[in-house]
């Protein structure tokens, strides 16, 4: 199964597209099965993310995978939406990673480097999840801890393989993630933006 065959949640939030996949119908998210937000780690292709989603669904979970290509589209000075869409469409893998930006965390210019935890929070908000498990590998440690610090009741279970963290003080990053999240929430609750949702 490819990512194009999966059910998708996508909306435009704060100059960004938030994109998530699931092999299960996102319209039936209200299920007793365990809902898991999945961050597969840095530089994982959508094809491989899709394969992991299917395996987790077969294991009895309701997986929702965050497409990491949509995390860092300000890279290379690309800031306007048409160019971002074009830029990302050409990429099979994620276009950046948090390590690259670690030295300048918390600066306004670096705001969009922290779209991955924002995306996890935004997707959970859009799907009206009360609780979810954050599952992932490698960079998922960094992203999951940021998401859990912002919404500790929502992400009340973290499950990682080979996780890493952030060596810098998390304070400026946390503040950046929060303001990003608030912008994403505003976009989600904006009726014009919601018209672009695909599920």
């Amino acid at each position: 199964m490819s990512e194009t065959q999966l059910n998708r949640l996508v909306y435009w939030a704060d100059r960004w597209s938030v994109l998530a996949y699931s092999p299960r119908s996102l319209e039936h998210i209200d299920t007793p099965d365990k809902r898991v937000i999945v961050h597969a780690g840095w530089s994982k292709s959508p094809k491989r993310l899709a394969a992991l989603m299917v395996r987790l669904a077969d294991a009895g979970t309701f997986p929702i995978g965050i497409d990491t290509r949509w995390a860092y589209a300000n890279q290379g000075g690309v800031t306007d939406r048409p160019r971002i869409d074009h830029f990302l469409a050409a990429k099979s893998f994620s276009v950046g990673n948090t390590n690259r930006y670690a030295g300048t965390v918390g600066t306004e210019a670096n705001r969009y480097s922290w779209r991955r935890p924002t995306a996890a929070l935004a997707v959970a908000e859009a799907l009206e999840l009360e609780t979810a498990t954050f599952v992932g590998h490698s960079e998922a440690g960094r992203i999951g801890t940021l998401a859990a610090q912002k919404r500790p009741k929502m992400f009340n279970h973290l499950l990682w393989v080979n996780p890493v963290g952030t060596v810098h003080s998390p304070s400026p990053v946390i503040n950046m993630v929060e303001s990003n999240y608030q912008r994403a929430k505003e976009a989600w609750h904006n009726s014009e933006t919601r018209g672009n949702i695909v599920m």
Binding site: A59, H137, R142, A148, Q149, F155, N156, L158, P163, T166
Partner: protein
């Protein structure tokens, strides 16, 4: 290259002491940064650490994916 997950885990635990934290990692190459981070995290009593057998020490996706699925089956 940041790998220190300690302070963040403390913050997560402080925000919600009921949060379940499960970490799976191999321990066969402790010069590897991911293993170092996992083993440091394992020192917290609020972290459930499970050592992995085999070649899960690297960041290549194939074996990591297997480990993620196994971990999910075990803990979800």
């Amino acid at each position: 290259m940041g790998t220190d997950i300690w302070s963040e885990l403390e913050a997560v635990h402080a925000a919600n002491p009921d949060t379940q934290i499960d970490i799976f990692s191999a321990t066969n190459d402790q010069s590897y940064s991911h293993q170092q981070a996992a083993l440091r995290a394992a020192e917290y009593d609020f972290v459930n650490f499970t050592p992995l057998e085999g070649e899960h020490y690297n960041i290549y996706y194939a074996n990591a994916q297997d480990a993620i699925v196994k971990a999910a089956i075990d803990r979800l």
